[in-house]
Amino acid sequence: MIEPSHSGEFGAPRGTYHEATPAENNKLGIWLWLASDCALFASLIATYLSLHGQTLAGPGPKQLFDLRITVTATFVLLCSSMTMGMGLEAAQRCDYRGVLRWLIPTAVLGLAFVGMQVFEFTHYVLQGLTLQVSDFGASFFTLVGFHGLHVSFGVAWITSLLIYVFRKKRVDQADAWRFEAVSLYWYFVDVVWVVIFTVVYLMGKVG
Protein backbone atom coordinates (compact mmCIF):
# COMPACT_ATOMS: atom_id res chain seq x y z
CA MET A 1 0.00 0.00 0.00
CA ILE A 2 1.03 3.56 -0.53
CA GLU A 3 1.70 5.59 2.56
CA PRO A 4 -1.00 8.24 2.89
CA SER A 5 1.62 10.95 2.78
CA HIS A 6 -0.71 13.34 1.03
CA SER A 7 -4.43 13.75 0.72
CA GLY A 8 -6.57 13.22 -2.33
CA GLU A 9 -4.99 16.03 -4.28
CA PHE A 10 -3.25 15.43 -7.57
CA GLY A 11 0.13 13.82 -7.47
CA ALA A 12 2.06 10.65 -8.03
CA PRO A 13 2.23 8.21 -5.15
CA ARG A 14 5.07 8.52 -2.72
CA GLY A 15 6.51 5.73 -0.70
CA THR A 16 6.69 2.12 -1.67
CA TYR A 17 3.94 0.10 -3.22
CA HIS A 18 3.63 -3.27 -1.66
CA GLU A 19 1.27 -5.69 -3.29
CA ALA A 20 -0.50 -7.75 -0.65
CA THR A 21 0.33 -11.43 -0.85
CA PRO A 22 -2.40 -14.07 -0.63
CA ALA A 23 -1.01 -14.98 2.79
CA GLU A 24 -1.53 -11.42 4.03
CA ASN A 25 -5.06 -11.37 2.64
CA ASN A 26 -5.81 -14.65 4.36
CA LYS A 27 -4.58 -13.32 7.68
CA LEU A 28 -6.67 -10.17 7.52
CA GLY A 29 -9.63 -12.31 6.50
CA ILE A 30 -9.13 -14.55 9.53
CA TRP A 31 -9.00 -11.54 11.83
CA LEU A 32 -12.24 -10.16 10.40
CA TRP A 33 -13.92 -13.54 10.76
CA LEU A 34 -12.80 -13.74 14.39
CA ALA A 35 -14.05 -10.22 15.10
CA SER A 36 -17.39 -11.20 13.61
CA ASP A 37 -17.41 -14.41 15.64
CA CYS A 38 -16.81 -12.30 18.74
CA ALA A 39 -20.04 -10.44 18.04
CA LEU A 40 -21.80 -13.80 17.75
CA PHE A 41 -20.47 -14.92 21.12
CA ALA A 42 -21.36 -11.53 22.61
CA SER A 43 -24.96 -12.09 21.51
CA LEU A 44 -25.05 -15.55 23.06
CA ILE A 45 -23.44 -14.33 26.28
CA ALA A 46 -26.00 -11.51 26.53
CA THR A 47 -28.70 -14.13 26.01
CA TYR A 48 -27.24 -16.28 28.76
CA LEU A 49 -26.94 -13.36 31.16
CA SER A 50 -30.53 -12.34 30.50
CA LEU A 51 -31.99 -15.81 30.96
CA HIS A 52 -29.71 -17.63 33.43
CA GLY A 53 -31.87 -16.65 36.38
CA GLN A 54 -34.77 -18.65 34.95
CA THR A 55 -33.98 -21.99 36.56
CA LEU A 56 -37.65 -22.91 37.12
CA ALA A 57 -37.97 -26.55 38.15
CA GLY A 58 -34.43 -27.46 37.06
CA PRO A 59 -31.23 -27.10 39.06
CA GLY A 60 -29.41 -23.74 39.21
CA PRO A 61 -25.78 -22.87 38.55
CA LYS A 62 -24.78 -22.65 42.19
CA GLN A 63 -25.69 -26.21 43.11
CA LEU A 64 -24.75 -27.66 39.75
CA PHE A 65 -21.32 -26.37 38.78
CA ASP A 66 -18.30 -28.29 39.94
CA LEU A 67 -15.47 -25.79 39.55
CA ARG A 68 -12.83 -28.50 39.89
CA ILE A 69 -13.78 -30.05 36.55
CA THR A 70 -14.00 -26.66 34.88
CA VAL A 71 -10.72 -25.33 36.20
CA THR A 72 -9.00 -28.52 35.03
CA ALA A 73 -10.53 -28.01 31.57
CA THR A 74 -9.28 -24.43 31.65
CA PHE A 75 -5.74 -25.57 32.33
CA VAL A 76 -5.98 -28.13 29.55
CA LEU A 77 -6.96 -25.40 27.09
CA LEU A 78 -4.27 -23.10 28.47
CA CYS A 79 -1.61 -25.75 27.90
CA SER A 80 -2.87 -26.33 24.39
CA SER A 81 -2.45 -22.62 23.66
CA MET A 82 1.17 -22.81 24.75
CA THR A 83 1.89 -25.89 22.66
CA MET A 84 0.16 -24.20 19.74
CA GLY A 85 2.54 -21.27 20.14
CA MET A 86 5.51 -23.60 20.11
CA GLY A 87 4.12 -25.37 17.04
CA LEU A 88 3.76 -22.05 15.25
CA GLU A 89 7.37 -21.16 16.06
CA ALA A 90 8.45 -24.51 14.66
CA ALA A 91 6.39 -23.98 11.51
CA GLN A 92 7.92 -20.57 10.97
CA ARG A 93 11.41 -22.02 10.96
CA CYS A 94 10.16 -24.85 8.70
CA ASP A 95 10.90 -27.42 11.39
CA TYR A 96 8.85 -30.45 10.34
CA ARG A 97 9.60 -32.52 13.43
CA GLY A 98 8.95 -29.56 15.70
CA VAL A 99 5.54 -29.05 14.13
CA LEU A 100 4.59 -32.66 14.80
CA ARG A 101 6.08 -32.51 18.30
CA TRP A 102 3.97 -29.53 19.31
CA LEU A 103 0.80 -29.74 17.23
CA ILE A 104 -0.07 -33.36 18.02
CA PRO A 105 -0.22 -32.54 21.75
CA THR A 106 -2.28 -29.46 20.92
CA ALA A 107 -4.88 -31.53 19.12
CA VAL A 108 -4.87 -34.13 21.88
CA LEU A 109 -5.34 -31.46 24.56
CA GLY A 110 -8.18 -29.93 22.54
CA LEU A 111 -9.78 -33.32 22.29
CA ALA A 112 -9.36 -33.79 26.03
CA PHE A 113 -11.13 -30.47 26.60
CA VAL A 114 -14.03 -31.57 24.43
CA GLY A 115 -14.12 -34.90 26.23
CA MET A 116 -14.31 -33.19 29.60
CA GLN A 117 -17.12 -31.02 28.33
CA VAL A 118 -19.06 -34.06 27.13
CA PHE A 119 -18.52 -35.62 30.56
CA GLU A 120 -19.65 -32.41 32.27
CA PHE A 121 -22.76 -32.07 30.11
CA THR A 122 -23.73 -35.71 30.72
CA HIS A 123 -23.29 -35.13 34.43
CA TYR A 124 -25.62 -32.11 34.32
CA VAL A 125 -28.24 -33.87 32.24
CA LEU A 126 -28.27 -36.71 34.77
CA GLN A 127 -28.87 -34.12 37.48
CA GLY A 128 -31.92 -32.86 35.63
CA LEU A 129 -30.61 -29.91 33.63
CA THR A 130 -31.74 -30.26 30.01
CA LEU A 131 -32.29 -27.95 27.07
CA GLN A 132 -36.02 -28.03 27.70
CA VAL A 133 -36.37 -27.93 31.49
CA SER A 134 -35.50 -24.25 31.95
CA ASP A 135 -34.02 -21.33 30.13
CA PHE A 136 -30.96 -21.55 32.32
CA GLY A 137 -30.42 -24.98 30.81
CA ALA A 138 -31.19 -23.82 27.29
CA SER A 139 -28.92 -20.77 27.36
CA PHE A 140 -26.13 -22.58 29.25
CA PHE A 141 -25.96 -25.53 26.87
CA THR A 142 -26.27 -23.24 23.85
CA LEU A 143 -23.45 -20.92 24.87
CA VAL A 144 -21.02 -23.47 26.26
CA GLY A 145 -21.92 -26.04 23.63
CA PHE A 146 -21.33 -23.50 20.87
CA HIS A 147 -17.87 -22.90 22.29
CA GLY A 148 -17.34 -26.65 22.44
CA LEU A 149 -18.23 -26.89 18.77
CA HIS A 150 -15.62 -24.23 18.08
CA VAL A 151 -12.99 -26.26 19.91
CA SER A 152 -14.04 -29.38 18.01
CA PHE A 153 -13.72 -27.57 14.71
CA GLY A 154 -10.31 -26.35 15.83
CA VAL A 155 -9.23 -29.92 16.57
CA ALA A 156 -10.46 -30.98 13.12
CA TRP A 157 -8.57 -28.10 11.54
CA ILE A 158 -5.31 -28.89 13.37
CA THR A 159 -5.68 -32.55 12.46
CA SER A 160 -6.20 -31.70 8.81
CA LEU A 161 -3.10 -29.51 8.90
CA LEU A 162 -1.10 -32.33 10.47
CA ILE A 163 -2.25 -34.70 7.74
CA TYR A 164 -1.30 -32.08 5.16
CA VAL A 165 2.28 -31.68 6.41
CA PHE A 166 2.59 -35.39 7.13
CA ARG A 167 1.89 -36.18 3.49
CA LYS A 168 4.41 -33.60 2.34
CA LYS A 169 6.92 -34.72 4.99
CA ARG A 170 8.13 -31.15 5.29
CA VAL A 171 6.98 -27.65 6.14
CA ASP A 172 7.54 -24.85 3.66
CA GLN A 173 7.79 -21.14 4.26
CA ALA A 174 4.77 -20.85 1.97
CA ASP A 175 2.72 -22.82 4.49
CA ALA A 176 3.49 -20.51 7.41
CA TRP A 177 0.21 -18.65 7.02
CA ARG A 178 -1.73 -21.88 7.43
CA PHE A 179 -0.23 -22.31 10.88
CA GLU A 180 -0.75 -18.66 11.72
CA ALA A 181 -4.41 -18.92 10.73
CA VAL A 182 -5.10 -21.99 12.82
CA SER A 183 -3.17 -20.56 15.77
CA LEU A 184 -5.14 -17.30 15.68
CA TYR A 185 -8.35 -19.31 15.68
CA TRP A 186 -7.13 -21.49 18.51
CA TYR A 187 -6.10 -18.52 20.69
CA PHE A 188 -9.41 -16.87 19.96
CA VAL A 189 -11.29 -19.93 21.18
CA ASP A 190 -9.17 -19.77 24.31
CA VAL A 191 -9.98 -16.08 24.82
CA VAL A 192 -13.68 -16.84 24.55
CA TRP A 193 -13.23 -19.60 27.10
CA VAL A 194 -11.71 -17.12 29.57
CA VAL A 195 -14.88 -15.05 29.27
CA ILE A 196 -17.16 -18.08 29.60
CA PHE A 197 -15.18 -19.44 32.55
CA THR A 198 -15.48 -16.11 34.35
CA VAL A 199 -18.99 -15.08 33.42
CA VAL A 200 -20.73 -18.46 33.44
CA TYR A 201 -18.83 -20.57 35.93
CA LEU A 202 -17.08 -18.30 38.44
CA MET A 203 -19.88 -15.74 38.61
CA GLY A 204 -22.46 -18.52 38.52
CA LYS A 205 -20.85 -20.00 41.59
CA VAL A 206 -20.74 -16.60 43.31
CA GLY A 207 -24.40 -16.07 42.47
Binding site: E3, C38, V71, M86, E89, D95, F188, T198
Partner: protein, 111 residues
Amino acid sequence: MGHMEPAHTPPGPAPATPSAGEASAGRTHVTVAILLACLTIVAFGIVWLRAIPTGDMLPVLLVLALAQIVLQTLYYMRLRVDNRKFAIFFGGGVTLAVVISVFAHLLLLAR
Protein backbone atom coordinates in the same frame (compact mmCIF):
# COMPACT_ATOMS: atom_id res chain seq x y z
CA MET B 1 -3.23 2.42 5.48
CA GLY B 2 0.11 1.31 6.68
CA HIS B 3 2.67 -0.62 4.83
CA MET B 4 1.97 -4.31 5.21
CA GLU B 5 4.85 -5.99 6.95
CA PRO B 6 4.71 -9.73 6.48
CA ALA B 7 4.47 -11.04 10.00
CA HIS B 8 6.69 -14.03 9.49
CA THR B 9 9.91 -12.77 8.00
CA PRO B 10 12.86 -14.93 8.33
CA PRO B 11 13.64 -14.39 4.65
CA GLY B 12 15.41 -16.87 2.50
CA PRO B 13 15.87 -20.51 3.33
CA ALA B 14 14.98 -21.52 6.82
CA PRO B 15 17.80 -21.65 9.34
CA ALA B 16 18.46 -25.15 10.49
CA THR B 17 19.42 -24.32 14.04
CA PRO B 18 17.24 -22.33 16.40
CA SER B 19 18.66 -18.90 16.99
CA ALA B 20 18.56 -16.72 20.07
CA GLY B 21 15.46 -14.90 18.79
CA GLU B 22 13.44 -18.08 18.58
CA ALA B 23 14.50 -19.16 22.02
CA SER B 24 13.29 -15.84 23.41
CA ALA B 25 10.01 -16.19 21.50
CA GLY B 26 9.61 -19.62 23.07
CA ARG B 27 10.35 -18.10 26.46
CA THR B 28 7.64 -15.50 25.89
CA HIS B 29 5.12 -18.27 25.30
CA VAL B 30 6.08 -20.00 28.52
CA THR B 31 6.07 -16.75 30.51
CA VAL B 32 2.65 -15.78 29.23
CA ALA B 33 1.34 -19.26 29.90
CA ILE B 34 2.59 -19.09 33.49
CA LEU B 35 1.03 -15.64 33.98
CA LEU B 36 -2.28 -16.90 32.57
CA ALA B 37 -2.15 -19.92 34.86
CA CYS B 38 -1.50 -17.69 37.88
CA LEU B 39 -4.43 -15.42 37.00
CA THR B 40 -6.69 -18.45 36.58
CA ILE B 41 -5.60 -19.85 39.94
CA VAL B 42 -6.19 -16.50 41.65
CA ALA B 43 -9.68 -16.20 40.11
CA PHE B 44 -10.50 -19.78 41.01
CA GLY B 45 -9.04 -19.34 44.48
CA ILE B 46 -11.04 -16.31 45.50
CA VAL B 47 -14.26 -17.98 44.41
CA TRP B 48 -13.40 -21.35 45.94
CA LEU B 49 -12.20 -19.93 49.26
CA ARG B 50 -14.68 -17.01 49.28
CA ALA B 51 -11.62 -14.90 49.94
CA ILE B 52 -13.29 -11.54 49.47
CA PRO B 53 -16.84 -10.29 50.11
CA THR B 54 -19.32 -11.39 47.44
CA GLY B 55 -20.08 -7.81 46.48
CA ASP B 56 -16.47 -7.14 45.49
CA MET B 57 -16.11 -10.38 43.62
CA LEU B 58 -17.65 -9.45 40.28
CA PRO B 59 -15.38 -6.49 39.49
CA VAL B 60 -12.30 -8.41 40.66
CA LEU B 61 -13.17 -11.40 38.49
CA LEU B 62 -13.85 -9.16 35.51
CA VAL B 63 -10.50 -7.42 35.91
CA LEU B 64 -8.71 -10.77 36.15
CA ALA B 65 -10.49 -11.98 33.01
CA LEU B 66 -9.63 -8.77 31.21
CA ALA B 67 -5.98 -9.16 32.15
CA GLN B 68 -5.97 -12.67 30.68
CA ILE B 69 -7.65 -11.50 27.49
CA VAL B 70 -5.16 -8.68 27.07
CA LEU B 71 -2.23 -11.03 27.61
CA GLN B 72 -3.56 -13.52 25.10
CA THR B 73 -4.46 -11.05 22.38
CA LEU B 74 -1.30 -8.97 22.69
CA TYR B 75 1.27 -11.77 23.08
CA TYR B 76 -0.28 -14.98 21.79
CA MET B 77 -2.26 -13.42 18.96
CA ARG B 78 0.61 -10.96 18.48
CA LEU B 79 -1.52 -7.86 18.21
CA ARG B 80 1.28 -5.97 19.97
CA VAL B 81 3.74 -6.46 17.13
CA ASP B 82 1.59 -7.33 14.16
CA ASN B 83 -0.06 -5.07 11.62
CA ARG B 84 -2.17 -2.37 13.27
CA LYS B 85 -5.07 -3.05 10.88
CA PHE B 86 -5.77 -6.25 12.79
CA ALA B 87 -5.89 -4.44 16.11
CA ILE B 88 -8.17 -1.74 14.69
CA PHE B 89 -10.71 -4.11 13.16
CA PHE B 90 -10.63 -6.64 15.97
CA GLY B 91 -10.42 -4.21 18.88
CA GLY B 92 -13.03 -1.89 17.40
CA GLY B 93 -15.37 -4.71 16.58
CA VAL B 94 -15.06 -6.42 19.93
CA THR B 95 -15.60 -3.16 21.79
CA LEU B 96 -18.69 -2.45 19.72
CA ALA B 97 -20.04 -5.96 20.26
CA VAL B 98 -19.47 -5.82 24.02
CA VAL B 99 -21.03 -2.37 24.41
CA ILE B 100 -24.11 -3.32 22.42
CA SER B 101 -24.52 -6.66 24.17
CA VAL B 102 -24.21 -5.10 27.63
CA PHE B 103 -26.72 -2.43 26.68
CA ALA B 104 -29.16 -4.97 25.25
CA HIS B 105 -28.75 -7.07 28.39
CA LEU B 106 -29.52 -4.06 30.58
CA LEU B 107 -32.58 -3.23 28.49
CA LEU B 108 -33.83 -6.78 28.91
CA LEU B 109 -33.21 -6.70 32.67
CA ALA B 110 -34.69 -3.24 33.11
CA ARG B 111 -38.24 -4.29 32.56
